[in-house]
Symmetry: C2
Subunit: 402 residues, 2 copies
């Protein structure tokens, strides 16, 4: 039996992250690859109580089919929470999704035709490239500097269906788009009539100071905003949301209905139970403190163990260091050796829509303990030092042979 696959499947490749996670699953490997929050940060007791309460008080509603829009009180809570960040929306603009990954899938279906241009940062979140790929867009990479994508790059992307941006502690680079750059980007997008899709899973995970206000606060009618409960509560509940301008919402809702009818009502009610009485105000600071200590441990270990020529910036929030190896090294080529030595990471190449920098790689600091992070980075440092020594040796041989 031969099956004819849809053309879009030619553009799908196995998730690099997940294939690497499989390699890294064997005992003895310390993984810096996956963006898995430490389970120590899951508010288990609160979720246990909430779950029991939901199944005691409203089991018939929690276990029944429910509205595609999401659980009303949770949508109201999201709208109220966003108002704190200056994003003024009605609960009727909030669509609850099965993780914010589903939000990306729905936005792609809503806005992308085969061959449509979609502007993305490079590097950008790999999962977004994968979510959009089935709609067969033509990705256009936005040039950027340390403050974020360049406004003139956005102007040059006029005609694209949207620009996908991760302003806060970007995955994979950890970069925050500055206040001034946000203003300039929104002005450029408005001038070009280029819609924005703003993905903000990490905005609450700041260490020293909150990031500047979201793009959606500056241009609500031109921005679709995505949020998530995965990083501030627990990813295994698969709860996120999309906030869409009122003109888009009805079609977005139809896309959602067709995709999975609705996100589990049980999960939505549990999360509403834990957030409605202010758990996040007590809980998120503990997540921030844990992550900051992990960030500090990784920064110290990188300083201690990585050779000259390696480049990185300690992130001010989020979950990732973006490391650039010394000249001449290739992070993808080095990975099997690193895993053999006992440490895993994600090479930077698959995060790039355009040309990739082979020296780059992503390190997650949120899964392991500070002591494990020191061990993992020491191992990585040893592998990099060895690779450099071999490179120098082979360069020497080449020079001798010449």
């Amino acid at each position: 039996m031969t099956w004819t696959l849809a053309r879009r499947t030619e553009r799908m490749n196995p998730s690099a992250i997940r294939e690497i996670l499989k390699l890294a699953e064997r005992p003895g490997v310390l993984s810096l690859a996956g963006g898995l929050p430490s389970p120590d940060g899951f508010p288990v007791e609160a979720l246990r109580e909430a779950s029991a309460r939901v199944l005691r008080d409203t089991p018939r509603e929690a276990l029944q089919y429910a509205a595609s829009e999401g659980y009303g009180p949770l949508r109201e809570w999201v709208a109220a929470r966003l108002a704190n960040d200056g994003v003024v929306v009605e609960p009727g603009q909030v669509l609850v999704t099965t993780g914010s990954q589903q939000g990306l899938d729905l936005v792609g279906k809503l806005l992308i035709d085969a061959g449509s241009a979609v502007a993305v940062e490079t590097p950008t979140y790999l999962g977004a490239l994968q979510a959009f790929a089935p709609c067969e867009p033509a990705f256009a990479a936005l040039a950027s500097d340390d403050e974020g994508p360049k406004p003139e790059a956005l102007a040059g992307a006029a005609g694209a269906r949207f620009a996908y941006l991760l302003p806060n502690f970007q995955n994979p680079t950890g970069r925050v788009i500055s206040e001034a750059r946000r203003e300039a980007l929104v002005a450029a997008a408005q001038a070009a009539a280029l819609p924005l899709v703003e993905d903000n899973p990490y905005g609450e995970l700041w260490f020293d100071a909150p990031p500047p206000a979201p793009l959606a606060a500056r241009w609500p009618q031109g921005t679709i905003y995505l949020g998530s409960f995965s990083k501030i509560l627990a990813p295994g509940l698969r709860l996120g949301y999309v906030v869409a301008p009122p003109a888009l919402y009805p079609k977005l809702l139809q896309v959602k209905q067709a995709a999975d009818l609705h996100t589990p009502g049980f999960n939505q009610r549990i999360v509403h139970e834990v957030v409605r009485d202010g758990l996040l105000d007590r809980h998120v600071p503990t997540v921030r403190a844990r992550h900051a200590a992990q960030r500090d441990a990784m920064a110290a270990a990188l300083r201690a163990h990585l050779p000259a020529g390696a480049e990185w910036q300690p992130p001010r929030g989020g979950m990732f260091f973006w490391l650039r190896l010394p000249p001449g090294l290739d992070a993808t080529a080095l990975l099997p050796r690193a895993i053999a030595a006992g440490v895993a990471y994600v090479p930077g190449a698959p995060f790039h829509a355009g040309e990739a920098d082979p020296r780059t790689l992503r390190l997650s600091f949120v899964t392991l303990t500070p002591a494990q992070l020191h061990t993992a980075i020491a191992t990585l440092g040893r592998v990099v030092h060895e690779a450099l020594a071999e490179q120098a040796g082979s360069a020497l041989s080449l020079r001798r042979a010449a």
Copy 2:
């Protein structure tokens, strides 16, 4: 701000079922519209205990990111359960989905290009038409009789990407494809090299005798099989599964990863807890008995209250009666009047891929009690009698005027 929507959105219309459910939400309306199982049939106590156990014993695993394939022990359970029906599969062929609606979305993305032919029964499950629509197929309606779609119709659909079939207690007609017809259909599909997508959410809901073995048991390498926990446990958990031939599985998995990373691990573990010690063997017979009593109540009420000329067959399982109104009546036109009188249903038109029979409508018997079903059908009968009387009156006026 003007947004350019993807072309596929032109093919999406608001879900007729959901729009009608909104109308029917006002107090005093008895709804026969939605396929919502009675909450009396939810095994609340077992789910409560399982939920507490999961969050006590494995909270860190249940709340963390998990494999896109699904929870291993649940996949093993599904494979073992299917073996009872003669469907021999490896656990590695099972993909857990966020409800079986998501399974349809994933299958569409995997196999449908814009303009691809997809063969469907007519009428067929409205949600499948909605799930496939974003991939812009050309639907081809399969001619059928009381035993199911005709084998020659399947032969005539050679070249389609697949034929989508609901062999057991079909939504909306309640029809079961006979043993002989299944054999003939599989032979025709094999001869035409036409893949089958077999959707089986209702197979366990038989009243007198189990339905014949699935199509997947007869042609495993040519059939994708979809199953669901929504009708035998609870829909609000959003748990279903797709079983795919090994050659298709890797691409199917990539489509799933891109769609929502994975189905909530918490929900998967809860369901595995309740099914692994045999709850379904005790629980499903109680669901069958409740539904059979509801079916009997609706059948008696239809006999008592519907006028001559109305046609229906009491289903031998599942959740729906398919009613054909007397000649001259239109179920869509009659709906606002029915709702005003206090009863809601779904007109048959949106279930048709090809030409619709305006006299048809779908009645769910699984939500209301037998007493409520009698009241609802009595109301429906009154509305139909009145409409017939008006029709006769206006026919009389026309004759007098002539």
